[in-house]
């Protein structure tokens, strides 16, 4: 038995080596297919790890309240579709901050955001305008490089004070002293009271490329609105997140006169960091597997190429098949020989594809790291097994028909074949 197998393998490899050029071209389809699967899986996993790390860096004990309900429990709130919804107000945020409503919240920050140009003398810079409440420093762990953050009073009495993100400070002032200077946004003059510490991008938000203005000032003077874009709040302990989510919902329903407790009529959406993480994982996974499936399609094409070339090989070697049968090869011997040949081609192609795909993924990861992204090189054993498995299956499936055709040849017909 073992002897037969080694003999078949030997015969198959000899046949492949006899036609090196053709074997290689046949293999190429599989190499590209498997390589593509490997690269997509690895890059997908790397990108996913980057995204998840970004989201995690927010802290998992943060919850967010967005205006507008969501169609289903885990779906995105409608406000994410670019529709402006005005149901959340500053007073809502303040109500959540009260211990009697939501006991487990440490602090709350309300946001109304926009974009605008900040200018100082001849210098001007387009940046993100972040109208926020004083809770910002607590909830978002914002630290100051120079000066101070605004106070509760400044928040309430429409003070025209501004805290600069590090990038904005650099762009406008360079090395000069900024505290006490006056900058302009839309003809309104603000005095600079602080500069935030350099922080980088967290959860896709460049904290350095924005300015912070008291929320009321932002609403009344710049945006001309009364509603909030977002409320974020910090929970005292991760174990209490579910309790907080419930308390927040109850408080807001009461304030918005929503009687239905099923959540269907909610005009707001509450999400925890963990939920967001789950959602992002689901989305990125779906994307990753979709792309891998697309790449796997090329394996199918490669498989058809193999079937084609094996059919040519069977025709070409009809006399050889006839001879082998005359010398005593059984149907199964011939079948195994051709099946092994196609499996050997795909498996070898698969291995080359894995190595090639692995190298490309590694280079991509190295490039991303070089460019400063927290990108992990992830070559999972699953994707390797998937690639090897799929390529062997492709070899078997697409080799089966030609192999069967070969094994069914009548010896005398085959010997007579010219």
């Amino acid at each position: 038995m073992f002897n037969t197998i080694t003999q078949s393998i030997h015969t198959s490899l000899a046949a492949l080596l006899a036609n090196k050029g053709r074997s290689f071209l046949t293999m190429l389809g599989i190499v590209i297919g498997v390589g593509a699967v490997i690269v997509i899986m690895a890059v997908g996993a790397g990108a996913q790890s980057l995204i998840l790390a970004q989201v995690k860096s927010l802290g998992t004990n943060i919850i967010g309240v967005m205006p507008g309900g969501s169609a289903e429990e885990e779906g995105p709130p409608v406000s994410m579709m670019g529709i402006s919804i005005t149901t959340l107000t500053y007073d809502d945020a303040m109500a959540l901050k009260e211990k009697k409503n939501v006991p487990n919240l440490i602090d709350v920050v309300a946001y109304t955001k926009g974009v605008g140009t900040v200018s100082w003398g001849a210098h001007s810079y387009d940046t993100n305008l972040s109208g926020c409440s004083v809770g910002f420093t607590t909830v978002e762990d914002g630290e100051l490089d120079q000066g101070r953050f605004f106070t509760k009073e400044e928040e309430r009495n429409l003070s025209r004070v501004i805290v600069l993100g590090f990038t904005v400070y650099n762009e406008l002032f360079g090395e000069s002293e900024a505290i006490g200077q006056r900058v302009k946004i839309k003809k309104h003059t603000f005095s600079v009271i602080g500069v935030m510490k350099e922080r980088g991008t967290v959860a896709f938000q460049d904290y350095d490329d924005q300015v912070f203005i008291p929320i009321m000032t932002m609403q009344k003077l710049i945006a001309g609105v009364n509603h909030l874009g977002l409320i974020r709040a910090k929970v005292d302990h991760e174990d209490n997140i579910n309790q907080v989510l419930m308390d927040v919902k109850l408080t807001l329903r009461e304030r918005h006169d929503i009687i239905d407790s099923s959540g269907k009529n909610d005009d707001f959406t509450v999400r925890s960091g963990a939920q967001a993480l789950d959602m992002i994982t689901t989305v990125t996974n779906a994307l990753k597997y979709f792309l891998a499936a697309m790449a796997a399609l090329s394996l199918l094409v490669g498989g058809i190429g193999i079937m084609n070339i094996m059919l040519v090989a069977v025709t070409e070697r009809t006399r050889e098949i006839g001879l082998r049968k005359a010398l005593g090869a059984r149907t199964a011997n011939i079948m195994n020989q051709f099946l092994l040949e196609s499996v050997a081609v795909t498996l070898l192609g698969g291995i080359i594809g894995i190595i090639g795909g692995g190298i490309i993924s590694f280079l991509i990861a190295a490039g991303a790291k070089f460019m400063g992204y927290d990108w992990a090189f992830i070559l999972s054993i699953q994707s390797i097994l998937l690639a090897v498995g799929v390529s062997s299956i492709v070899g078997i499936i697409f080799g089966l028909y030609p192999a069967r055709k070969a094994s069914k040849l009548e010896p005398v017909e085959a010997l007579r074949y010219e």
């Binding site: 002897n3 010398l327 005593g328 059984r330």
Partner: protein
């Protein structure tokens, strides 16, 4: 009796027509015989050889090979029988390209049940046909006469009961042809049964018995008087 054929008929059919090739042949071949099946092309001699060599099946009639009825055997049973009892030598050699002489001769043994000492057995028969010095040559590196000797070695390697040689000298120059006939005669002298298929009376007269086939019928079945003996050195010890 090694071969017992009675009223054997063969016809080929396709959608359009039926071609009758053999019209009822009967004969017996015993162990140790050297029979030439002779006839012009189209006479049915090759079809007869294919059926006798278990490469094809009769349409009608009785065929017992080594006292076994082969007409009802499965394809795989026939393959096993060919592997263990029959050796073939073809006009066009039918050697595997890009394969060494030794590996070509080993080929039948790779399908045999007994796979012991394959290498030694193949070497020994190659030495017997005078090709001990060509073991590692590829089949495109040797002459036509040597190729046919490789084919004979391949036919001998499984110790067959019978060797079928289908126009074995057809593609060879006369000197190589004589060498091949000499080997076949020597093999017959040491007890091998040999069936030689040819269209030349000259070649046929190297055998001991001639069966003359014409238009699918046996027109003559006679012993050879004045048998030709091929002498060319001492190739087979």
């Amino acid at each position: 009796m090694l071969i017992n054929i009675k009223d054997l008929k063969k016809q080929f059919e396709n959608e359009k027509l039926v071609t009758k090739v053999l019209h009822g042949l009967s004969f017996v071949i015993n162990e140790g015989e050297f029979v030439a099946i002779m006839g012009p092309s189209g006479s049915g001699k090759s079809t007869l050889m294919h059926i006798m060599g278990l490469l094809d099946r009769a349409s009608e009639g009785k065929y017992e090979f080594a006292d076994r009825d082969v007409t009802t055997m499965s394809d795989n049973e026939l393959a096993d029988l060919r592997n263990s009892k029959i050796g073939f030598v073809f006009q066009s050699f039918n050697l595997l390209a890009r394969t060494t002489v030794l590996d070509n001769v080993k080929l039948p043994l790779t399908y045999a049940k007994d796979k012991k000492n394959i290498d030694d057995r193949a070497r020994r028969v190659l030495e017997d046909v005078g090709l001990g010095h060509r073991l590692d040559y590829f089949t495109n590196q040797i002459s036509g006469g040597e190729k046919q000797r490789v084919a004979i070695a391949r036919a001998l390697v499984n110790n067959p009961s019978i060797i079928f040689a289908d126009e074995p000298t057809g593609n060879l120059d006369s000197k190589s042809g004589i060498q091949i006939m000499e080997i076949l005669q020597k093999l017959n002298e040491v007890g091998n049964t040999i069936i030689l298929v040819t269209h030349e009376i000259y070649t046929a007269e190297h055998a001991k018995r001639v069966i003359n086939v014409r238009d699918g019928l046996i027109v003559e079945d006679r012993p050879v008087k004045n048998r030709r003996l091929a002498h060319d050195g001492d190739l087979l010890k």
